[in-house]
């Protein structure tokens, strides 16, 4: 990005361990790392992050401020843009330079079209970046960024964080779960095995989903369907068992980072896009996997 604009890349972080963090960031081409004192705010919430970033931005005058399009990044980014009253483009998937101006492309109408937008306001331009569109590149330059301790004084926050907790991963909706086990057509003929498979999925900390034929057969409720007409996955790992990989199914899982496919048919189309292809019977494999994680845990 910086090369595109002919500028120098810098980053902002909060925390006392600036130096060790800077060492980790070595090779990613950052020039400066602004480290803020974690004691500047009583709590680090989107509100206080936004205040801190705003005050650094006012002082350092960046051309472009990027946030990750995560819940925290989107929240803080919008607040900073509102505070600075400057152009804001969310969930960008691509950037381009036209003359002096920067353009960003993003999905609109739920991904049915892409829109290219251009910043007209004076910098800083603010954007949140879709993390799926990025790949960390380690450059040849192995220098650690220069660490700059920056002081910020913040206003008293008006929202208070009272509780932070984690939902049991097995209780999550399919779209949010990071590990999902999907079971396909073979289960219909052996419905009595369903509870065993559920137990196995639970013991590896996964949410169990099924393909469309299974919900159509009435074995599982519609909420556990994975597919274009059901749940779209976006987690880290998906284990597809006895699922051949129809286009509708594959469309709904394209955001998953790692795909493991288990099938007895060694020519199942899903093997083409799987990272780990396993020719095995799911009714033997899943319980074995469950046992294995019980013994290791």
């Amino acid at each position: 990005m910086a090369r595109l604009l002919g500028q120098r890349p810098c980053a902002i972080t909060v925390g006392g361990e600036g130096d060790s963090f800077a060492t980790q960031l070595r090779g990613f081409g950052l020039e400066k790392l602004y480290v803020l004192d974690p004691r500047a705010a009583p709590q680090w919430t989107p509100e206080t992050y936004a205040q801190a970033v705003t005050s650094v931005a006012l002082r350092r005058k960046p051309k472009l401020l990027l946030f990750a399009a995560t819940p925290l990044g989107s929240d803080a980014g919008a607040r900073v843009a509102a505070r600075l009253r400057t152009g804001f483009i969310s969930e960008c998937v691509d950037f381009a330079v036209e003359g002096e101006r920067l353009c960003a492309r993003k999905a609109v109408h739920g991904g049915e079209a892409h829109m290219t937008l251009r910043w007209l306001s004076p910098p800083p331009w603010i954007a949140t970046v879709d993390l799926d569109a990025l790949e960390a590149i380690e450059g040849a330059n192995r220098c650690a960024p220069q660490v700059i301790e920056d002081q910020v004084t913040l206003e008293a926050p008006r929202t208070e964080l009272v509780r932070r907790w984690k939902v049991d991963p097995r209780q999550l909706a399919l779209g949010e779960a990071s590990l999902v086990v999907g079971v396909g057509r073979p289960i219909i003929a052996r419905a009595q095995e369903l509870s065993r498979l559920k137990e196995a999925a639970e013991s590896i900390g996964a949410v169990l989903g099924v393909s469309r034929p299974v919900t159509d057969a009435g074995l599982m409720p519609k909420e556990s369907q994975i597919g274009m007409s059901g749940n779209w996955l976006a987690g880290d790992v998906y284990i597809a068992c006895g699922i051949s990989g129809s286009a509708y199914h594959m469309m709904a899982i394209h955001k998953v980072r790692h795909l493991i496919a288990v099938n007895i048919d060694r020519d199942a189309p899903i093997f083409k896009s799987a990272e780990l292809a396993i020719v095995a019977d799911l009714f033997e494999l899943l319980p074995a996997l469950g046992e294995l994680s019980k013994t290791t845990a």
Partner: protein, 280 residues
């Protein structure tokens, strides 16, 4: 308590596959804004003497959305529109909404966390900034404590992490899709639709003029979606297979396929190894 809900009416392209065929455009309320109305109605039911006012800045078609809100149970509906607002950006929309909200009064302002069309998700932050209100963004459900006059909201983060925030009223809260499904129609909706009139306002009535610096971002082009490509990847260095994979939107880099057709225990161990690596 007076709860104001800001709505967006979305005019979208025809359903996929029909684009360019002259099929009619799709009209719909922004789904997250319906969730915001639902939360407002639940709060009203929980505390006596509350009122729910819905506000939209949009052309006459936007009354479809207001009618839905009335049918759901909103007490009052206001539509602001002026020809000058064609192509207005989030900043101007927020300014118009602010002026309207100041005129109607409020204790709590709700809206969806982003719209389903362009979805920049900044209007909530702008309203909070302009009206100097505390902001909770992306709330899943709301609770109001009458004794302390505080509102508390759960917020969804990644990987099943949740946070609860509280703040004092008056406040601004943007709503994310949570456990409360928006109701389709509320009781007595026919009567309400017949009886309730939508108030129509223009910019002169509000005392807002079109700003000199009109837009901060402009639309350059709208194109069919291109497959996802990763930024910063040197395409020339990829093999043909990898290029094809990228063209078809597959960003998973194959870690080399492992075919294990041995005993299920061995296969399970293999999966477990990868799970441990990938899930950290």
């Amino acid at each position: 308590m007076k709860i104001a809900v800001c709505l967006k009416h979305i005019i979208g392209p025809p359903s996929s596959g029909l684009a360019g065929t002259g099929a009619p455009l799709r009209h719909s309320p922004n789904p997250l804004d319906l969730s915001a109305i639902e939360e407002a109605l639940r709060l009203r039911a929980g505390s006596g003497g509350s009122e729910v006012v819905v506000v939209t800045a949009g052309p006459p078609q936007a009354e479809l959305t207001l009618n839905r809100a009335i049918a759901m149970g909103a007490d009052k509906a206001i539509r602001v529109w002026d020809e000058a607002m064609c192509g207005a950006d989030s900043f101007f929309t927020a300014e118009v909404l602010c002026a309207t909200l100041r005129a109607t009064g409020f204790d709590l302002i709700l809206c969806g966390s982003r719209s389903a069309d362009t979805g920049s998700g900044i209007v909530g932050a702008l309203l909070a900034e302009e009206l100097e209100l505390p902001l909770i963004a992306g709330a899943l459900g709301l609770k109001y404590d009458e004794r302390t006059n505080r509102i508390s909201a759960d917020k969804k983060l990644e990987r099943g992490v949740r946070e609860t925030y509280t703040t004092c009223l008056p406040a601004m809260v943007t709503i994310e899709h949570g456990p409360n499904e928006p109701r389709w129609y509320g009781a007595g909706w026919v009567h309400r639709l017949l009886k309730q009139k939508i108030e129509r306002r223009d910019l002169r009535w509000l005392g807002v003029s079109f700003p000199a610096q009109s837009r901060r971002v402009e639309i350059v082009a709208v194109t069919p979606p291109r497959p996802r490509t990763k930024l910063g990847v040197n395409v020339a260095s990829l093999s043909r297979e990898e290029k094809l994979r990228m063209m078809f939107g597959q960003t998973r880099t194959s870690a080399g396929q492992v075919r294990a057709s041995d005993r299920p225990e061995d296969a399970a161990r293999k999966i477990k190894e990868h799970l441990d690596k990938w899930l950290g």
